[in-house]
Symmetry: C2
């Protein structure tokens, strides 16, 4: 990358594309185009970052430096089939898709995976977000690293195998823990109580991991072996089979993990 | 409570007792005694808060204003059977145990449940922790409210039924989400990677709920209906039946919840 912040094309207009596009725009990058299958959603993002909206990949600007494919995992392949970029740098942003899916798109390709949960409504600062980079050759790796370091302090070199593991772990740490909040909220709402009450608890549970391994700081009835409370909880969940099953299974897993810790 | 910060007795020396004791001590309360079944653990806390350690309930100081029973849920009843405090205020700190367990201990009893996850190693500021209060009569409720408000801004009046619901929801929001972090860490460690990578993600997942309902901000393969990624994840978990079961069950629950949201 030259010192002047060069031309980027963003393919996609979802959560990742929106957050990345806005972060790059704020950082002074020129985003020439935003592609989405529907022109309306391309426009929604393009407007925010002073880019041109396109809905046809044939219109792709051939002069950009980096092409970022930030679409749903199962749409990456379709996009890859439709574009040829010779020696331009092309990356996807997926945690679970191997780098090689891009091998016929360009001589220089890679992955640019920001390890974070993104929503369109919440524009995140990328400074501390781990950016997991992989590239098919050294010069592409150097350029991507330089590019990532220009707006992020936590750049990691991660291969496709490692990234798959990280993505799986992220599903547990993020999607599944968020779903535990959802279940908590549904239990509260059913009883005319608000999740507001649990917000300091949720915040502290997440904050704790900065100092201690979560396996060491577990609290609650399962880790205490408090069968009476667990039994009462299961009774309270008897009208919701799925929640009851999750309670049983996760409690058992907490107990098993604590046994392993003690060994 | 008089303006001079009066005498408190703490029965218990575990996570809650330690955090509450230290917070009260810092606030200027006189803690006359700390009871624990083993004198050593009573001493460990007593030393920090300038109190006397006891391991025999017969030695209980009869002149305190409030007696706080902060022992394991299934030990509350045993403690309650052993103490008679006439008209002194006695409370327990449990989320799941009804207030009435204390009805034979004193004329004035109640619950003082701080809704938080406590570890001995982490001394928390009680200012924003919701304190759920219940009392068997108005004067006790008034005293407990005044007491709680002296060091906390988030005092809630919650009856035993509501508290049981809140505690169950807290198990999901705290213990179960923390266990999701534990499972994520074990997946990473098995592959020689570190939880360090996921810390910004965990922090953001918890921070998101301040603005949006967790049901609305779910991300990841399950909510996207990305069957290919889910299948690949299940394959990666094939050597760990329990983790695989949790993955299947929670994913299904995420999908079901999203359907309900759309209705």
């Amino acid at each position: 990358m030259s010192a002047a912040k060069q031309n980027i094309v963003i393919i996609g207009a979802g959560n990742v594309a929106t957050n990345l596009g806005i972060a790059l725009f704020k950082e002074g990058y020129l985003i020439s185009q935003v592609f989405s299958r529907t022109i309306k959603s391309a426009e929604l993002l393009a407007r925010k970052i002073n880019a041109k909206a396109i809905s046809d990949l044939k219109q792709l600007d051939p002069t950009a430096i980096i092409y970022i494919i930030a679409v749903k995992d199962d749409a990456i392949e379709q996009v890859a089939k439709k574009i040829k970029l010779k020696d331009k740098i092309v990356v996807h942003t997926s945690g679970s898709i191997p780098m090689n899916i891009l091998k016929n798109v360009s001589k220089n390709y890679g992955v640019f995976y920001p390890l974070q949960t993104f929503s369109k409504e919440r524009n995140l600062n990328f400074k501390n977000i781990p950016i997991c980079i992989e590239a098919n050759n050294k010069s592409t790796s150097t350029t991507l690293t330089y590019f990532a370091k220009s707006f992020c302090t936590n750049v990691q070199h991660i291969n496709s195998e490692q990234r798959k593991t990280i993505h799986l772990a992220a599903v547990f740490a993020c999607n599944f823990s968020n779903h535990m909040y959802t279940l908590a909220e549904s239990i509260l709402i059913k009883n005319k109580l608000s999740l507001e009450l649990l917000k300091p608890l949720i915040e502290e549970t997440a904050a704790k991991i900065k100092e201690h391994s979560p396996s060491k700081s577990q609290t609650g009835p399962s880790i205490r072996g408090d069968k009476k409370t667990m039994k009462a909880h299961l009774k309270m969940l008897s009208s919701n089979k799925d929640q009851k099953k999750i309670y049983e299974l996760v409690s058992k897993s907490i107990i098993d993990s604590s046994k392993k810790n003690k060994l």
